[in-house]
Amino acid sequence: MAEFIQILISGLSAGSIYALAAVGFTLLWQASQTINFAQGEFVMLPAFFVLALTVKLGLPLPLAIILAIFLSVLLLGAVFKKLVVEPMIQHGTLPLVIATIALGLLLKEGVKEFYSPLGQPFPSLFPQDVLSVFGAAVSIPDIANFVIAMGTIIGLQLFLARTRTGRCMQATAQNPDVAQILGVDIKKMVLYTFLINGALAAIASVLITPIYLAKFSNGEVLGLVAFIAAIVGGFNQIRGALVGGLLIGVIDNLSAGYVSAEYRQAVPMLLLIFVILVRPQGLLGTSEGRAV
């Protein structure tokens, strides 16, 4: 039982970070039909911003993190939209998908080439202590990661639901034609979505990288997991992406703990296949989620 609780909590913790990436992925899809196959690299990269700022420039960690989030919002949000999405979407969804795949490769190889091909230690943000909960040893970073990731997603949900700007963003995603005729500045709303995705990726990056090392290839698994979590959750709902992320985190950790660490990689894939077969619209998805 103690072991189960332990595994469950670290699964939820990892899953909530996956959910950050999956939520961003879903938001971009809703707002601009962008399927961002560079999302994994978007989560890989900000950790290197932090490293560059701390190791190379000697800035203190908290400041470096704030700057890295800022840089991500700018580069992975605004610049990505301007230089990749806007020119490519005019040619259709498929060219854009290919462009994001290319961008992912570019970011990956760029970090490998210009920073390092080796995994870099990344400072942990929280004390590495262990708390005892019902006899289970629960790590403080796990709990802190979970709280921050969930807090971010809940905050985002509240922003979208409770503020007028958030509702304008929803209107733009759900029915851009109507949003436009009512005078919503739909271009600005789509831009906000990209900025938010940049911030979500950066937060996910600084939370997840201390668990592993900062490495150019970190995006491979993360991107896949975010993609699967988004599909499992229904692709058109933030709540779905959240549930998808948590589910993958928990199942992944449970299978690593009880089945085999070797096969854990296959587990999200199995979940994906299962969901596609049983509930093609996703766990929480609705077939009429998008009215055009």
Partner: protein
């Protein structure tokens, strides 16, 4: 109030409006009729800044408003209710109404107006917390009509409001429009339901192939045999040459 002068325009390279011209007076209801594909909806899009206009002019109260953006047209006092369903499906009825006043700098006033239109359309108050997608087609249309009133527009462009509405609700919407006209609002409407629409309108306008074919007092058009013929599927030219 609104004047179109020899308007040309279309979608991409496809020309739909071929010199549309007409002028409608303030505080009046004008119904636009014409066969499918005549360009009725396209005229509305042109006025509201949603069409690529190649030449011609749109004037409002004598002022040139050609090629304005939708936002600028809203600020100039125009609202537009397109054909079909036009709600934000997952937002509540209340929040759909709120979007109708989203461009206003006075949100307190918008909230008051929402209360007033909910008095006018009690169904909306009853379902204000439901998602818009959960309303029936007729209820969604009422929501759209109500939403268009929040900014107290001077000119309402309303495209086929009666589709999907029961005859009772159609009359209800028509009465709402007439009441607005009596308050000084100008209304330009497209209706398939030509007989009952002309019967409640001041003027009628027949559009064909992107050009104004007839424009007269509504009762005159109603009595015109060529209009009757048009609705049996013919063309005006055939009638004229016959």
């Amino acid at each position: 109030m609104l004047e179109l002068k020899d308007l040309h325009g279309g979608y991409g390279k496809i020309q739909i409006l071929n010199g549309t011209s007409f002028k409608i007076p303030p505080a009046s209801i004008t119904t636009v009729i014409g066969p499918n594909g005549a360009g009725k909806s396209t005229v509305f899009k042109a006025v509201f800044g949603l069409l690529n206009i190649t030449s011609g002019q749109i004037l409002m109260d004598g002022q040139d408003v050609t090629r304005r953006t939708p936002k600028q047209m809203i600020d100039a006092g125009v609202t537009y209710v397109p054909q079909g369903r036009n709600v934000v499906p997952q937002l509540s009825v209340y929040h759909n109404l709120e979007l109708g006043g989203i461009t206003s700098n006075n949100q307190a006033r918008v909230r008051d107006r929402i209360e007033q239109v909910m008095d006018q359309f009690p169904m909306l108050r009853q379902f204000k917390d439901r998602k818009a997608i959960e309303l029936s087609g007729g209820q969604q249309k009422q929501l759209e009509v109500a939403r268009t009133l929040l900014l107290d527009p001077k000119l309402i462009l309303i495209d086929e409001p009666s589709i999907g509405l029961s005859p009772n609700l159609v009359q209800e919407v028509f009465r709402t429009l007439q009441a607005l006209r009596d308050q000084g609002v100008t209304i330009l409407m497209v209706e398939q339901n030509a007989k009952s629409a002309l019967a409640m309108s001041d003027y009628g306008l027949v559009l064909e192939l992107g050009q104004t074919r007839m424009h007269d007092a509504a009762d005159k058009l109603l009595a015109d045999p060529r209009v009757g013929h048009l609705f049996l599927g013919g063309h005006i030219e055939e009638e004229e040459t016959a």
